[in-house]
Amino acid sequence: MKTFELLDAAGSAAPPRSNGELVFDAPWQQRAFGITMAVIDSGTTTWKDFRLQLISRVAEDDARPYWESWAAALEDVVTSAAMLTSAEIDRHEDALAQREAGHDHRRRE
């Protein structure tokens, strides 16, 4: 079965769609989606595992926006597959924040 057929599933794990098109409100949502598909494509994790994490993240906080749960589930599968550790991600995020202060126009809040 192709990955997009799996994605077509209904229920809390199915990404929001409009007229059959995946709906992204911000570029990071699209990146999170693409990274997830790339990680699945690489064989390190499976759609099934990711979907289970996503379902549990969605269930954990019903009010949280869908793609935020998606990003959390992505971090879950990446860390549980031992691809990265949370501490590593923290450090890299800090490093990016340092760089960005001088390199682009993103407003830090």
Partner: protein, 196 residues
């Protein structure tokens, strides 16, 4: 982190950067996958409609008679689906859709239009030189086949019913639908049979 969006954007960027740095993913494949899922999955609605028309002659007739009403059987509708007109490809006629004035497009069945559909090059040249434009897009139409160009408008949004490819006799609707692409339903590509 859920409290602020910029925090999540940075977190996702950090994840992607680290995974790429370690060679666990490459950024180009992320781009390619995003493109794949936003362009090939959106038109899944249309693909389901086409597959049904291929296996169910009565449905096909309803689709050709009144596209809007026929796709409503799938629950596809809304204001953008008004006046959906289905044009059928045959061994002697090839149909292709454009909107010369803007970017009218059958959203209900195809999702959002691709960038090239909105380009002035496609809009202005397709009517004058359909065979040349199609050839540039990788589709050679035999000289004996008539090419019909349909100009979409707010009144009529055209949608191509491609020919069912050979080698698909035993396939069910879901499998057939997976063969149908957005470009084939615009008329700039054929539906290819299953890869051996």
């Amino acid at each position: 982190m859920s409290a602020e969006h910029s925090g999540i954007a940075a977190r996702v960027e950090a994840l992607e950067g680290l995974l790429a740095q370690k060679g666990l993913i490459d950024v180009e494949s992320v781009d390619r996958l995003i493109d794949h899922f936003t362009s090939d999955v959106g038109p899944l609605n249309g693909a389901k409609v086409i597959a049904r028309a291929w296996v169910d002659a009565a449905f096909k007739q309803r689709l050709l008679d009144d596209g809007t009403k026929a796709v409503a059987e799938f629950g596809f509708g809304g204001p953008e689906g008004a006046c959906l007109v289905t044009v059928e490809n045959t061994p002697t006629v090839h149909n292709v859709v454009v909107c010369t004035l803007c970017s009218c497009y059958p959203w209900t069945v195809l999702g959002l239009p691709p960038g090239w559909y909105k380009s002035s090059a496609y809009r202005s040249r397709l009517v004058a030189q359909p065979r040349a434009v199609l050839r540039e897009m990788g589709l050679d139409i035999q000289p004996e086949v008539i090419v019909r160009v349909w100009d979409s408008s707010a009144e009529a949004r055209y949608f191509v019913l491609p020919m069912r490819p050979a080698g698909t006799a035993g396939m069910g609707e879901a499998e057939l639908a997976s063969l149908v692409t957005r470009d084939a339903m615009i008329g700039v590509a054929r539906v290819e049979g299953p890869v051996a």
